[in-house]
Amino acid sequence: MNMVVCVKRVPDTAESEVHIDSSGKGIETGKLSFRMNDADNYAVEEAILIKEKIGGTVNVISIGDEKSDEQIRMALAKGGDEAVRITDPALEGSDGFALAKALAAAVKGMEYDLVLTGALADDDGCAVVGVALAELLGVPHAAYVKKVEVLEDGKRIKVGRELEGGLMEFLEMDLPAVLTIQTGINEPRYASFKGIKAAAKKEIAVKSVADLGLDPSEVGEAGSWAVLESFSYPVVGEKAEILEGDPAETAAKLAAILKEKGLV
């Protein structure tokens, strides 16, 4: 099974304050740490699990600057075989459609049975790239996949899609196909020391938009369906009454409120 996994480097904002930068279209990243997009991490693991079970190759692709090598090398360290980084200033401002075009151009040059992406990105949360990529490649797809089983002939797969309320929708599809992988499908491993050392020596092929046979106008803002005009802070209704003091004081105040409400 020849597999391609798409990974993205994203800022870790789940537990951090997010501030709009002076351009109004970006965020201040100085204090943020970066990591592999959560769902992509599960996609990498799923590809490696399939490779371990039935054999094959795992090709890693990422769009981003050289800092993305950190995430690419992590995927290689866990069991990825080869890697491509698509880097080009023309990609600035790309939406999911423009990114899918760049990925499709790269994937078309590879032998693949299965392409895996994350179900959605932690930064923009669009959930567009994987399904758009499938359409551009002209292959079937399934989104929000939380179970993958390669059927015996190796030409078809059975997948479970996670719907609202945790309901699973199972379907069978032909390969090649694109799946967008949902978090929780597996337990992503930690890279071994040996794997990290080996990955550090691997070559990451760096490709520009032109190398992929695309015109710069096909990506970036020009090649996107939509562009971000501005960010704003959400309008929050009535905000919570914030209890002031050190932990002992705030805990005492909260306990008193719960008691008053008859909850203790």
Binding site: V18, E135, L136, G184, W225, A226, K239, T250
Partner: protein
């Protein structure tokens, strides 16, 4: 203004609420609202849609008993080409996400997903969507086109009372090809666990903010002192720290306890959707701008590892 197509979403014999929300929201945008129903023996859905639509296009074919992205895409693209709407709305759901990007690529129609607000500038939508788990709103500008597609977050619009009696037009299934390359198999219900959190009066919701599973006992002690059950955000379940039957949110359960104490939960909508109906919501989080403080009545902005043990002690004292 051109027509607005609204895709009716149904599953296991039920028309999903988001379909009615979108019909209601579309009514305020200005164009003729056309409900598009791909179903099998779904006359009752057609009648329901007609109460909120100016017209219902209904394809009745066994192919559409269950959702299939490939069949839906082929049917919708044919209907869109024939009728020429200016806007297509569908839910940002497990179905919509699986369908919209491929349809948009095929038709060359600009798509914006998971929108939470919408205004129109003539025929052109001006959507708002969220970034960074709801910490920022993003104002999007779409490229000029004849057709736009939007997937809309559930509960963005309120479903109105039926006030129309749109004509139901049965149309022949435009899809004749074999689509066995993607075939629906079955639905499988999530497993039932030992605690049914939808029945719990008091819940301590545990989020990513606890950082490591070795901190979980702190929350267990707090829950035990309160007589509460533990609930979890998706991140905590994905990490395997608590079982899936404890998950609250879109992909998990909807709970309405007397107390929901959210600890280390930022308040992304995926979680909030499942607990915003709680009677009293308290949040402990170190990020003062975390969206959870927008729905909580009382909050503590601090390190949960310090606050939680102190709170457990205070509760124990009060209970004697």
């Amino acid at each position: 203004m051109k027509d607005i197509f609204v895709l009716m979403e149904h599953r296991r014999g039920e028309l999903r609420e988001v379909s009615l929300e979108l019909l209601s929201g579309a009514a305020g945008l200005g164009g003729t609202v056309v409900a598009v129903l791909l179903g099998s023996g779904a006359d009752d859905f057609a009648a329901k849609a007609a109460g909120l639509a100016d017209k219902v296009l209904y394809v009745d074919d066994p192919m559409f008993e269950n959702y299939n992205a490939e069949a839906y895409q082929k049917a919708l693209s044919a209907l869109i080409k024939e009728h020429g709407p200016g806007l297509v709305l569908m839910g940002h759901t497990g179905h919509g996400v699986d369908l919209a990007p491929a349809l948009a690529v095929e038709l060359g129609a600009p798509l914006v997903t998971d929108i939470t607000g919408l205004e129109m500038d003539g025929d052109k939508p001006k959507p708002v969507r969220q970034y960074y788990g709801g910490k920022l709103d993003a104002h999007m500008v779409l490229k000029d086109a004849d057709l736009y597609i939007l997937t809309v977050r559930e509960a963005t619009f309120q479903a109105a009372e039926p006030s129309k009696s749109g004509e139901v037009v049965k149309v022949a299934n435009p899809v004749s090809e074999d689509i066995s390359y993607r075939k629906f198999v079955e639905y499988v219900e999530p497993e039932v666990g030992e605690v049914d959190i939808t029945q719990s009066a008091l819940l301590v919701g545990v989020g990513r903010g606890i950082r490591e599973d070795k901190n979980l006992p702190l929350l267990e002690e707090l829950a035990s002192a309160l007589g509460a059950d533990l609930a979890a955000s998706r991140a905590v379940v994905d990490a395997g720290w608590l079982p899936a039957d404890r998950q609250v949110g879109i992909s998990g359960k909807t709970v309405k306890p007397k107390l929901y104490l959210a600890v280390g939960i930022s308040g992304a909508f995926q979680h909030v959707t499942g607990m915003k109906g709680s009677e009293f919501i308290v949040a402990i989080n170190k990020d003062p701008d975390a969206p959870i403080f927008g729905i909580a009545q009382v909050g503590i902005v601090d390190d949960l590892l310090k606050v939680v043990p102190a709170l457990t002690e205070k509760i124990k004292e009060l209970k004697g």
